[in-house]
Each structure stands twice: as C-alpha cells, then as structure tokens.
C-alpha cells in the first residue's frame, strides 16, 4: 500500500506540449523563492477547495463528488482572482484525507447538509490490540484490511485523483499556472493518532511508549522505501511534496514526547524527499514556535515552511532567513471576518518583514470556504505593489 496519498495527483510533466512563457516566468519566481533568493516579485500560492465552489456558484455536493468538477471549478476561480502564480493541488476530493488520518470523511450532500463543509468523522477505530497486529502482520497488510473495513471512499478518491491529477495539472499549465505541491508524504504519527483519536493515542504515548514506537518504526520502515520509490516513479525534480503536521505540532506535545515520536520521523521523511530531488513543503498547522530553531537541521534552501497563522511567522523569518523559504500566513479568520484594509495591512507587513527574499505569499493552511472574495483578492493583489 502506498504510503503517500493522492499518488500522481499532479505528476505528468508537460505531456508533449509547450507551456506558455508565463508558466516558466512563474516557475522561476517560485524556484527563486524556494532557494531563498529574491525574485522579480514575491510569488503567490493558494490552496483552495470549497472556496472555489462558492466563487463559481457550484454546489458543494457537485464539487466534492467529482474530481473533474472540482478541477474545473478551482481553475475557473484562479482565473477570476487574477495574477496567481500557483496552486498547490490541481483538483480535490476531501474523502482522500481519510488515507492520512485513517478516518472517514463526512461530506456535503452525502453525509452532511448540502451547504456544510466536509469534516472528519473521528472515532476510536483501532484498539491497543491492533498495535500487536501491526507488529505481527506488518503495516501494509494490516492497512489493507483497515481500508477494506473503514476507508472505501478514501481509496476510491485516491484512485480518482491519481487519474485526474495529471490531466488537471496540464490544464493549469496551459493557462500558465504552476501546480506547486500536489503530492504528500505522511508522518506515521498522523495515521495512528487519527485512527486511535488524539486522547487515546496520547495516553498510549505515556502508558505503552515502547510499543507505540515499535509500531511507528514498522510503518516508517515501509515508508522509507516506498517514498524513495514513489519520488523516482514521479520523476519531476523540484516538485513539491507536503510533509505535513497537524497532530504532531509541538503545541500539543511536550519536548520529551515530541523528540521521540515526531521529530526523528519528520526529519527523515523530509531528508528523503530532498535527497530524491523533491521540494519538501512543511505544511505545519498549529503553533510551531518552540521548535522553529530545529528546522535549521533540515536541508538548506530546499524546503518550504508553510504556516497557518498560529506560529509567529515574523520570528520564524528571523531565525530561518537564508535557510528556508516561508509560505503563509494570512489567517483564515481574517479572510473570513476581516476587512480589505486589514488584509492589505497584514500582507504589507508580510512583504516587508518576511519577504522579499525566500517568501511566498499565501493564506494560512487553506482558503476557508466562506472567505470574502474581496479579501482574497486583496491578498492576491498585494504582491503587485
């Protein structure tokens, strides 16, 4: 079982056609930022899903049930927003997140009212006995059984994205947009924490730490090889891979736990992606202030730190200047509740203090579905100053 999800969602190369000059201009801008250089202007990169549906007047059920409707809607929304350099995913299917957190998603029209945002259905789905089974069977055989039992929709979404991703990447390229980081490499901790629930998994970390570590090691042993194989199969140097953090954020775990159960695996996954020629995109939600210094241990001028508004991005810049590109972090609540003037002022501060070198302007995490269009537009336009 592949350790990555959305396999090949954005891979596909140029497919025999020549992208327009605008694509290369934008790609150059992004690559310069990733290398901590100063581009002609600060580039911009978006993550969006249901926001695009709102902008284009597409129903949520239609959006979440078809990767082609999602791809078309997101591309149309990009065009409406103006001069956006890149999008991180070319299309979307929220069900696929089940492969990350091993928990089914509830989506509008199927499990939720039509105008609801998709949400994760988090429950205790694995017991402590499952740790023994994983150790006995190995990760992939156990995970295969688990998918059969709980993640049918997630697996189907993964297959749909695998097929549609390259097609939609081409469509973006034709319009001059860069699909920046369409693929993911997941931390073993995120898998187990999602299937076990954060509370139960946290108790496991204290009460049966050796067994938890043994399970993470078994998963990691497979990921190590699968990730290398996967990147070689994709074969696109410089392509971004999310190595994300949600439940692994330092905000949630004491240093003693984090140093044992999070960082060694995170560091190795990032190094593997970099060694194989990819660009690790550290999509770090929640507060990472405590461990920002640690990121200096990761490969210099190869990674992108993507922050969601909870970490002090200005302090992060001071610490990581010249070492790591930073992407972010207009807070979702500001895009939803704030004014255009507030967004402009914040973006200007980002440009002044986090840019112009090694910086990519973006929202924190992803555009909220109910973000005000004029606020997002103000963020998009801010880089043109």
């Amino acid at each position: 079982m592949a350790d990555t999800h959305e396999p090949n969602a954005g891979a596909g190369g140029s497919g025999g056609f020549a992208p327009p000059p605008l694509f290369f201009e934008r790609m150059q801008r992004l690559q310069t930022a990733v290398a901590c250089g100063t581009p002609d202007r600060v580039p911009l990169s978006l993550v969006m899903d249901l926001f695009a549906a709102n902008v284009m007047g597409v129903s949520y059920p239609d959006f979440v049930s078809s990767v082609d409707v999602a791809g078309r809607t997101m591309l149309d929304a990009m065009e409406r927003l103006g001069d956006v350099d890149s999008i991180q995913f070319p299309t979307y299917a929220p069900d696929v997140l089940g492969m990350l957190w091993l928990a089914p998603m509830k989506v509008p029209g199927r499990d939720l009212p039509e105008h609801s945002q998709w949400q994760m259905d988090e429950q205790v789905r694995i017991q402590r006995e499952d740790y023994d089974k994983i150790l006995e069977m190995g990760w992939s055989p156990w995970f295969g059984q688990y998918i059969g039992k709980h993640l049918g929709a997630a697996a189907a979404a993964g297959q749909a994205l695998q097929e549609a991703g390259p097609r939609w990447t081409m469509e973006y390229m034709k319009k001059g947009y860069v699909v920046f980081s369409p693929l993911t490499v997941d931390h073993p901790f995120e898998h187990i924490a999602g299937a076990r629930t954060v509370k139960e998994f946290t108790l496991d970390l204290f009460q049966i730490p050796d067994k938890v570590q043994a399970v993470l090691d078994v998963i990691m042993a497979e990921k190590r090889e699968q990730t290398r194989h996967f990147l070689r199969a994709v074969g696109q140097p410089g392509l971004g891979y999310w190595v994300g953090s949600w439940r692994t954020a330092p905000e949630f775990l004491s240093p003693r736990l984090w140093n044992r159960f999070v960082w060694p695996y995170m560091k190795e996954l990032v190094e593997i992606v970099a060694e194989e020629g990819g660009t690790p995109v550290l999509h770090y939600d929640a507060n990472w202030d405590r461990e920002i210094e640690r990121l200096k241990d990761l490969p210099a001028r190869r990674c992108v730190l993507e922050l969601d508004g909870k970490t002090d991005i200005f302090r992060a810049k001071k610490i990581l200047a010249g070492h790591m590109c930073i992407l972010g972090d207009v807070h979702p609540a500001m895009l939803t509740l704030g004014t255009v003037d507030q967004v402009k002022a914040y973006c200007n501060r980002l440009l002044d203090e986090v840019g112009p070198d090694g910086f990519i302007m973006a929202m924190g995490c992803a555009l909220p579905p109910d973000a005000k269009f004029e606020n997002v537009k103000a963020m998009v336009d801010s880089v043109q100053r």
Partner: protein
C-alpha cells in the same frame, strides 16, 4: 507551599503512585472530599507547569486521565457531599460542526479542575444551550468550533442566550482551531481561550476560585 504526596504524585504524572495513595487514604478512613481536594491540588500543579511551558497538552490529557482513575473510588462517597464543584459549565461544539477533539479535552480538563461539565456533544442546536443552562443552573458556557463556516452559528447561539434572557447570567468562553480574539468579538463571547488551560483559568476567575 507544602504539597501533599498525593497532589505531588498527580502533579508529577505518577499514575500508579497516585492511585495507590488514594486507595491507602480510603482504607485509613480519610474523607473522600479531602482526598478529592488533594487531587485537585495536583491538577493545580499540572496547570502551573502548563503555564510555565514545562507541560503541554499531552500532559494535560494524561493528568486528567490519572485524576479520573484515581478519583473513581471516591465517587460513591462524594454523592453525599454538598460541595464538590466550583460551578457548572455547559459545553458543546456549535451547530453544523461535528469536531469533538478540542471540546472533549476542555471537558476533561475542566472536570478535573473542579468544574462540573454538562457536555452537550457536537452539532449542538442553539436552544440546547439555553435548555441546559436552565436545567443545570449553569453560569458558564463553553462553545467550540473548528470551521470558520460556523462562526455565524456560534454568534446565533449566543444571540439565542440573549433572546432567552440568560446572557447576563452566563459567561461565554469560546475556543477552537480558527478562533481568535477577533472571532470572539464578532460572535459576542466573553473570553477567547487559546488552550484548554486558558479555559480553566477564565472559569476559575469568573467563579472566584483562587
């Protein structure tokens, strides 16, 4: 300040020791209420260490679990006690949001700090907050969400408290992933709680607990 061995054991997250000490005290005939107070003193140590960044959410979760386990044998005796909680919190994830992780943590941490929690679950109807406040004579309300799309539901829930004439009687604490002070101002909450421990501090302040 002198700390009892039981409070210290809980503060140090020594699960087996804390459970053993509670059982010893019960065997010696110590009142359940005084044992509970020692456990709550242990949670105060945990809270202080959280404030000092020695402990994180992980330790809050574990400490609350030790509190629950160690305190389990006390429950029968405590039923006859008059005062076992400082006040009552009605808690829920607001309508149209089914996330329970943050809300559950708050319930656990509040309970282990002497605050009675009426947990309404997730996707809570606005009126359910009103009904629970009335039924339990609560003075605290906790509302949580993980989606920006339900900010208006949170605002409407607070408006429902106003419409029911309860707004002046309750203090509304809000929290959750995308929530910030601006959100608190928008929905009309009283305290924005960035962490579960922030919620405990705010609740104790409102209830006049030192």
């Amino acid at each position: 300040m002198i700390t009892s061995p039981l409070a210290q054991a809980l503060g140090d997250l020594e699960e087996d020791k804390a459970i053993l000490l509670v059982n010893d005290k019960l065997a010696k005939g110590e009142p359940a209420l005084s044992i509970l107070e020692e456990l709550q003193a242990g949670m105060n140590i945990v809270g202080e260490r959280f404030e000092n960044e020695e402990y994180y959410l992980s330790e809050l979760i574990y400490a609350a679990d030790i509190f629950k386990k160690a305190g389990a044998p006390l429950q029968e005796d405590l039923k006859s006690s008059v005062q076992v909680s400082y006040g009552t919190l009605v808690l829920g994830t607001v309508k149209n949001d089914i996330h329970d992780f943050g809300k559950d943590i708050v319930a656990t941490v509040m309970s282990s700090n002497g605050i009675k929690v009426i947990d309404l679950g997730v996707n809570v109807e606005h009126q359910a907050f009103v009904d629970a406040i009335k039924a339990n004579d609560a003075t605290l309300v906790g509302m949580s969400c993980l989606l920006t799309t339900v900010f208006d539901d949170m605002k409407d829930a607070i408006q429902t408290l106003k419409d029911a004439g309860l707004r002046d009687q309750v203090t509304v604490l809000i929290g959750g992933g995308p929530v910030d002070q601006a959100t608190c101002d928008y929905v009309g909450g009283d305290y924005y709680c960035k962490t579960a421990q922030d919620g405990v501090i705010a609740a104790k302040k409102v209830l006049g607990v030192s």
